[in-house]
């Protein structure tokens, strides 16, 4: 008797599941393929393994989606932001949240970024093959995860805007009209967080930009060893500035703020990174000529537009550079005030050359450590 009941129960459960699944299947095509005017809007979910208000990365993503909604109207495109929190205590809920969103089936695309979301994404993409995903600022290992065809992977050419920063730094350090520099020697600085592939991508672009501008340039390269030790970052930058460096570039997260403090104390220059640091740090703006931006919002804006037109190549990795608006230098009134006009004109030309392919910027993604070390050594101080 018990067995019969158990079997019946199991059957009922199965029927229930089939019914539910069937229900979803019948409603989905309506939303997906219905006429443009009457259909549900294209809906995106932005899952942040952090929170809004970082004045950088996540705010930029939110801004891009907001811009798209304002432009197209909420009846054509709508999105929801889920702030999952970025601390270790929040980490256990990232994957369940992602799976919940997949399970709801409400969203045309689910967007997330950074290396920490790579593993949850790989799992979700395999479990929900019909759900589309966008993944930014970290290379997704397609081959290692069974080549999922439902992920669109967005990377940024940080080497391209770093090229411009390098060129700008090399020109500024010998510019006689600038008060904060000693034009007699051509020495610039770089403060990195950790010696890894992404930071080296910044560094290689910076070196190439500087060397193309001035073949005799010397670059003091410093590493903090982490992304939080701002005080040590400051000490390393102080040592650089005290030894002839006039212009620096910080790519070290919060530790990089040490370089900006050192620049103020020594009355030298420090270029900003990732977000508009001159605007973010008003007390230090006079020492930050401009910042190299990573524009997550622009890339999402472009990718979703492409997806709505049905031409987005899911299953591939696309790198957004100047041409695609994925990276940029901040060019506002502050920049015009800080950087002499002839330098700005040259930077404009260089940017054009990068966009039309006349200049190819080195990238750490296709180079060995030995090759990178050789390039670093070619600009070393001593």
């Amino acid at each position: 008797m018990k067995k019969v009941i158990a079997l019946l129960l199991a059957l009922m459960l199965m029927l229930g599941l089939v019914a539910c699944g069937g229900g979803e299947e019948t409603t989905e095509p309506e939303g997906g393929e219905g006429g443009e005017s009457t259909a549900e809007p294209y809906k995106a979910a932005l899952l942040l393994n952090g929170t809004l208000g970082d004045k950088s990365f996540y705010d930029s993503a939110n801004e891009g989606l907001t811009r798209l909604r304002d432009e197209l109207g909420a009846d054509v495109f709508d999105f929801k932001v889920e702030q999952m929190g970025g601390t270790t205590a929040d980490e256990p809920k990232w994957e369940p949240t992602l799976l919940d969103y997949c399970d709801s089936g409400e969203y045309d695309v689910i967007i997330m970024g950074t290396w920490q979301m790579a593993a949850p994404l790989a799992k979700a993409a395999a479990e929900y093959p019909d759900q589309k995903f966008m993944f930014f600022d970290e290379a997704f290992d397609f081959a290692g995860n069974g080549n999922p065809s439902n992920i669109y992977n967005i990377l940024y050419k940080q080497n391209e805007d770093s090229y411009l920063v390098g060129a700008a730094a090399a020109m500024m350090t010998t510019d006689e009209t600038l008060e904060k520099v000693n034009p007699d020697d051509a020495v610039i600085g770089f403060l990195g967080g950790m010696d890894n592939a992404v930071i080296n991508d910044f560094l290689l672009g910076y070196i190439q930009g500087a060397k193309d501008t001035n073949p005799d340039i010397k670059i003091a390269i410093g590493w903090v060893g982490d992304f939080v030790n701002s005080a040590t970052g400051k000490d390393i930058a102080m040592a650089q500035y005290q030894n002839g460096v006039d212009v620096g570039y910080n790519v070290a997260g919060n530790a990089g703020l040490g370089q900006i403090e050192a620049a103020k104390e020594m009355d030298k220059y420090a270029f900003g990174v990732d977000s508009d640091q001159a605007a973010l740090l008003p007390d230090f703006a006079d020492w930050i000529p401009t910042s190299a931006l990573k524009n997550v919002g622009n890339s999402l804006y472009a990718a979703i537009k492409e997806d709505m037109a049905g031409t987005l190549a899911y299953g591939t990795t696309v790198t957004y550079g100047f041409a695609e608006g994925g990276v940029a230098l901040v060019k506002d009134a502050h920049y015009e005030e800080m950087v002499p006009e002839n330098i700005r004109t040259t930077l404009e030309e260089l940017e054009q050359k990068i966009v039309n392919g006349e200049i190819t910027v080195m990238t750490s993604s296709n180079m060995t450590t030995e090759e990178i070390d050789e390039i670093k050594a070619s600009v070393a101080l001593q």
């Binding site: 010696d195 102080m238 030894n243 703020l257």
Partner: protein, 305 residues
């Protein structure tokens, strides 16, 4: 590279790197003398770094900010003492809890006060000033070496002497050492070991808070997330290498400061930075080796007589 080492700038860099570690080392020494390992130094320093920014901004005076930060540091010491002494929590576990709370808690507090998560830049804090000593600053060489450092650096150096006198020349210091040496013996002569350990941990919190204050109000002029960056742990090691004495801890902290400043300058050369990063730790190890070797020799000599 030699030209960059024998300069006033380099000397200043040594003192900058030494100051926060020195405060924390003294804090570790007092706690250790009372028989408790204060591993919460890291979290306490981080909290204090944020408190310093908040309260120097609210009082619009660095001294006001420092005093409140020290009081709150003492409160953190009290909390640790309460967990360890009253609730009988394992001292290491309680410390780890404080350190973990500090990482997230400082960001939460910063968000509440400034609306930012990464840095406290929008809080208009008042960092401790640099001090020029009249007359001395006009003396050639010596003036440029000894003047122009942060007030907190001078306070750290003074604190070494004060803590030394406190531990070895005052009745309370004697009681702290007695409790640390042998709790039961101390109790047997009527000393309340719990009261003494409470006092020691509160003093430890006050001292490390001064180091934290310097981090965001002298070393840097703002608070940045996780800016203590292991200094609390380094201090714990420094104090233990210095046999938990103020003078010994001071020497190790200075040695560490020298090695750190040296490592920063070495980055200007082509030496691989992975090697350079080892310098501060390697130096401390070698220093420790020399120290224990000389002690061993001394003991052998004494034994031979």
């Amino acid at each position: 590279m030699l030209s960059t080492i024998f300069t006033a700038d380099f000397f200043a860099a040594i003192l900058r790197a030494t100051t926060p570690i020195l405060f924390a080392t003294l804090a570790a020494a007092i706690a250790a003398k009372s028989g408790i390992i204060n591993m919460a130094l890291e979290g306490m320093m981080l909290f204090a770094a944020l408190f310093g920014v908040i309260f120097s901004s609210l009082t619009q005076s660095w001294a006001g900010g420092l005093l409140i930060t020290m009081a709150l540091g003492g409160l953190l010491g009290l909390i640790l003492a309460f967990f360890v002494l009253n609730l009988k929590t394992d001292e290491i576990l309680a410390a780890i809890a404080i350190n973990l709370v500090a990482t997230g808690g400082t960001v939460l507090l910063m968000l509440a006060f400034s609306g930012d998560r990464g840095t406290s830049i929008s809080i208009q804090s008042v960092p401790a000033p640099k001090l020029d000593i009249p007359f001395l600053q006009d003396v050639p060489v010596l003036g440029s070496l000894l003047c122009g450092h942060n007030v907190m650096t001078y306070l750290a150096l003074i604190a070494v002497v004060v803590v030394h006198i406190f531990l070895y020349k005052t009745p309370l210091g004697l009681k702290i050492r007695a409790v640390g040496e042998n709790k039961n013996a101390a109790e047997s002569v009527g000393i309340s070991s719990r009261r003494i350990q409470y006092i020691a941990l509160i003093l430890s919190g006050i001292l490390v808070a001064m180091g934290g204050f310097f981090m965001s109000g002298g070393y840097m002029s703002m608070f940045t997330k996780d800016m203590a960056a292991g200094r609390g742990y380094i201090a714990l090691a420094a104090s233990s290498m210095g046999a938990n004495t103020p003078i010994g801890g001071f020497l190790v902290a200075v040695l560490f400061g020298i090695a750190q400043a040296f490592a920063n300058v070495m980055q200007l050369s082509t030496i691989p930075y992975e090697l350079i990063q080892m310098v501060p730790y390697l130096t401390t190890l070698i220093g420790l080796g020399i120290y224990s070797y000389s002690r061993m020799k001394k003991r052998q000599k004494a034994g031979g007589k």
